[in-house]
């Protein structure tokens, strides 16, 4: 605990710097993109007067430094503003769809961890065998196949041909069975790449742990292999895997946009994508800010889990 607190403090400061940098970059980047909301939404109906009205409502008539200041000031006070298109609070728009994206990302991560652990263990227990070769090939195939290709294949197989699972939407609110049935295919599509990657990672680290002297000693004492792997080796081998899960959550939230569009699933991805297409900057900024915060928090959580699994992580950092 003595080492853990300074470690966490350091990670939190790093997280805040990351967030500050992300927001600044985002603020500048969205304003460099040509086009304005009124023209995109209203087309030929967008008179110069209407364009000016829409720009003013988004605060774009203020000087750049003032827009930047107001952005951070409102951010710190938790005021995300009102969407000028629908007139609804932006926070409401985000909170309506955020659970869908989080459910998708965590379900995909759950699937990826469960399957990759099983595949990684199977491959590591028989290195060089036909099974290992097949699983290695499958992992590479999983990693190299884009999520949208997997999504289309899954839809054709399980929705169009077999009619087992629905194609589009997030399911009926309050109906758990409907929600889960709408989650399965998108989560599998999103997880595929990570299944292959984590399985390869786990196989490598497990083989390394299994070759260490303390494991040889356990074998010499006659400890059963499943117990060695399940109880001792896997725990150590998981450390590098857990390290990448933080990145994994961020990656899944960002990749969710493709899956959400293909499965016509409401979520943060589609919200940001549509808002960006419409040049609806306040919605883009608020949504990206929230997802970046989630990413930083997930990374923090992973660092904490890592430090608990292997105290050398915290020690190493505080000694550095």
């Amino acid at each position: 605990m003595k080492l853990l607190l300074p470690f966490l403090a350091q990670r939190m400061i790093a997280g805040l710097i990351t967030l500050g940098g992300t927001f600044s970059l985002l603020f500048v980047a969205v304003r460099l993109v040509p086009g304005d909301l009124a023209t995109i939404l209203l087309g030929t109906r967008a008179t110069p007067e209407l364009r000016a009205v829409y720009a003013a409502r988004m605060g774009l008539d203020e000087p750049f430094w003032m827009q930047f200041w107001l952005f951070f000031k409102n951010l710190l006070s938790g005021d995300f503003g009102t969407d000028i298109v629908t007139g609804r609070p932006i926070l409401d728009l985000i909170l309506e769809v955020l659970p869908n994206t989080l459910a998708l990302a965590f379900a995909a991560m759950f699937i990826a961890v469960m399957l990759s652990t099983a595949l990684g263990c199977l491959a590591a227990l028989r290195p060089g065998s036909k099974l290992d070769t097949v699983l290695g090939g499958a992992s590479v195939a999983f990693i190299s196949t884009p999520a949208f290709v997997v999504a289309i294949l899954l839809l054709i197989s399980f929705s169009v041909q077999l009619k087992w699972l629905p194609v589009s939407g997030a399911g009926t609110p309050g109906d758990m069975a409907s929600r889960i049935s709408h989650l399965i295919l998108p989560a599998v599509a999103l997880s595929i790449g990570w299944i292959g990657y984590l399985a390869r990672l786990l196989r490598g680290s497990l083989l390394e742990v299994l070759s260490e002297q303390h494991v040889q000693l356990m074998r010499a004492y006659g400890v059963p292999e499943p117990r060695i792997v399940g109880r001792f080796a896997l725990r150590l081998a998981l450390v590098p895997t857990v390290s990448v899960l933080g990145i994994g959550i961020g990656d899944m939230i960002s990749n969710a946009v493709f899956v959400e569009i293909i499965f016509a699933r409401p979520g943060i991805g589609t919200l940001v994508f549509n808002a960006l297409q419409d040049r609806n900057y306040p919605v883009v900024q608020a949504a990206v800010m929230l997802t970046a915060s989630i990413y930083v928090l997930a990374s923090l959580g992973v660092d904490l889990v890592n430090a608990l699994l292997d105290p050398r992580v915290a020690r190493g950092l505080s000694e550095a």
Binding site: V33, P34, G35, D36, T39, I40, L41, L42, G43, T44, R45, A46, P48, E49, L50, R51, V53, V85, T86, G87, R88, L93, E96, V97, L125, R126, I152, L155, I156, S159, V160, K163, W164, L165, P166, V167, S168, G169, A170, P173, A177, S178, I180, S181, E225, P226, I261, I262, F263, A264, P266, G267, T270, L271, N274, Q277, D278, R279
Partner: protein, 516 residues
């Protein structure tokens, strides 16, 4: 080590299978046992206020949930009374109406009266500060509405404006809202629609679903055919096609390339709808060398429009020869059908002192626009014009409007949607629109005069003649090479009969189960 299929494993597998079956993972068909209908829109709705609506699909929802004085008949541009018992022109600047009694607004907001009509129409006028709603132009000629009785009134115009009938009275800008509801709900009417139409908006989950339920109090004779209509916003055409193939949708627009796949679905039908929009290649007449009429004529002769229709549209649309589509007033049936003539094009360029020209073609970055651009690029290279394609995303492309960049354009591939009144479609080619939506930067005093005159005369034959003359002037200018009016393709369940006002506005109130 081999997998150990013990009792525990068997139980785990069995319970998983049971769980999966309990989740209801079974085939789903859109037309439910309760007769509900599921359709797809390619974008979600955002604003349901008729004066400030944003996308075409909002028109579809507003028309399903509200009434106007008149409405278009199913699959037709002919009108018939809707909320009105009678509505008629009594002079060039006056329309009288009498409402049917007993038309009740959704949500307990009472009966529709002439006061609601006055309120709904006068909302389009500028406020005290001069601010106008988005669709103010539809009612630009309105002076005021005079209430003469509970159900009767007079619509008084500032000047003769026949377009008011098609753009406002019979269309979405003529939707009659509850004055009481709008006053009470304020900004919330953007997402709550209180009308008297055959359907009521009962649920809207953004980007997920829009649910319309039949209005039990609907007073019209055309009772809603479905108890519930669910709209699923699905952006991707491929996803929509898969959802249709899986039986999740009863009606959706599909890409022309999907024709065969739809035909292979059991119980599916295809519906083709000719468009009224216009896509054209515009030439900037204010910039050298395109300021020379002969250069523009040469480019027009260098383009093989039939090759573009076959190559970029796979032959799934018709060729346009003028601005106005065949179904619109003022259609120019005798418009010249230009055929490619490389020798004539080269001769014109030589006459203009141009043998090698480098130009740019600005277009949207969708697959069809890019294909058109590439074909034009290849064709024009044969007459000595080197074309650079400048493909932009929708935001950047439409954002050119009103900027200095418009002055620097050479050729532009421009797709515009259209309205049923020709005046809406000719306005983009007037001098007032130069630099805004007139990217040809071309103007003609005669064209502008005819535009103004045609918009204010009620004699249809005389109007049509003026619009034809305007298209002749455009043709003489050689600033526009017309590509297509578009053709939309829809896939639908054979169990239903859809109805469309245009390719982008669907008449949900007339959707019905197919007759045996």
């Amino acid at each position: 080590m081999t997998p150990n299929l013990n009792r525990r494993a068997v139980l785990a597998l069995g319970s998983s299978a049971l769980g999966v079956s309990l989740l209801g993972l079974k085939p789903a068909f859109a037309l439910g046992a309760d007769g509900s209908l599921v359709i797809r829109s390619d974008a979600d709705i955002a604003v349901l206020d008729p004066a400030n609506r944003l996308i075409a699909f909002e028109d579809t929802i507003i028309q399903a949930c509200s009434q106007s004085l008149a409405r278009f008949k199913p699959n037709s541009t002919e009108w018939e009374p809707d909320a009105a018992k009678s509505v008629q022109w009594v002079s060039d600047t006056e329309i009288t109406f009498e409402l049917n009694p007993g038309q009740m607004f959704h949500g307990g907001y009472g009966e529709m009266t002439a006061e609601d009509v006055k309120f709904s129409f006068e909302r389009f006028l500028p406020d005290a500060a001069g601010n106008k709603p988005v669709f103010a132009d539809d009612w630009a000629a309105l002076d005021h509405v005079e209430v003469t009785g509970t159900y009767t009134g007079r619509i008084l115009l500032k000047n003769p404006a026949p377009a008011v009938w098609t753009l406002a009275i019979s269309d979405v800008s003529g939707a009659i809202l509850s004055k009481k509801a709008v006053t009470e709900l304020g900004d919330a009417i953007k997402t709550r629609l209180i009308g008297t139409g055959p359907y009521m908006l009962t649920e809207w989950l953004p980007n997920d679903r829009i649910v319309l339920a039949a209005n039990p109090d609907y007073a019209g004779s055309d009772k809603p055919a479905f108890p519930v209509i669910t709209v699923k916003p699905i952006q991707e055409a491929q996803t929509a096609l898969l959802a249709f193939q899986a039986g999740e949708l009863d009606f959706t627009a599909v890409d022309a390339a999907a024709k065969d796949q739809v035909a292979a679905v059991e119980g599916a039908k295809l519906l083709e709808q000719e468009g009224i929009g216009f896509t054209w290649i515009g030439m900037n007449a204010a910039k050298a060398p395109l300021d020379d009429l002969r250069v523009r004529q040469a480019i027009r002769l260098g383009i093989d429009m039939d090759a573009i229709i076959a190559g970029a549209y796979a032959g799934n649309t018709g060729r346009a020869n003028a601005l106005l589509a065949p179904t619109l007033l003022g259609y120019w049936a005798d418009a010249p059908v230009y055929q490619r003539d490389v020798a004539a094009a080269q001769a014109l360029l030589a006459e203009a002192g141009q043998t090698s020209i480098a130009l740019s073609l600005t277009c949207l970055n969708d697959a069809t626009s890019l294909a058109v651009a590439q074909i034009v690029q290849a064709l024009l290279s044969e007459i000595g014009v080197t074309l650079t394609i400048n493909a932009l995303d929708a935001g950047s492309y439409w954002g050119l409007s009103g900027t200095d960049a418009v002055k620097g354009l050479d050729l532009s591939l421009i797709p515009f949607s259209a309205k049923l009144d020709p005046s809406f479609n000719t306005q983009w080619f007037t001098a007032a629109m130069i630099g805004i939506w007139n990217w040809q930067n071309w103007s003609s005093p005669e064209f502008d005069t005819l535009h103004t005159e045609a918009a204010s005369i009620t004699d249809e034959a005389a109007r049509a003649a003026k619009y034809i003359r305007m298209q002749q002037i455009l043709d003489e200018s050689a600033t526009c090479v017309w590509v297509t009016h578009g053709r939309a393709l829809f896939a639908h369940s054979a169990a239903i009969t859809p109805a469309l006002q245009t390719a982008s506005v669907w008449q949900l109130r007339y959707f019905a189960p197919a007759k045996a």
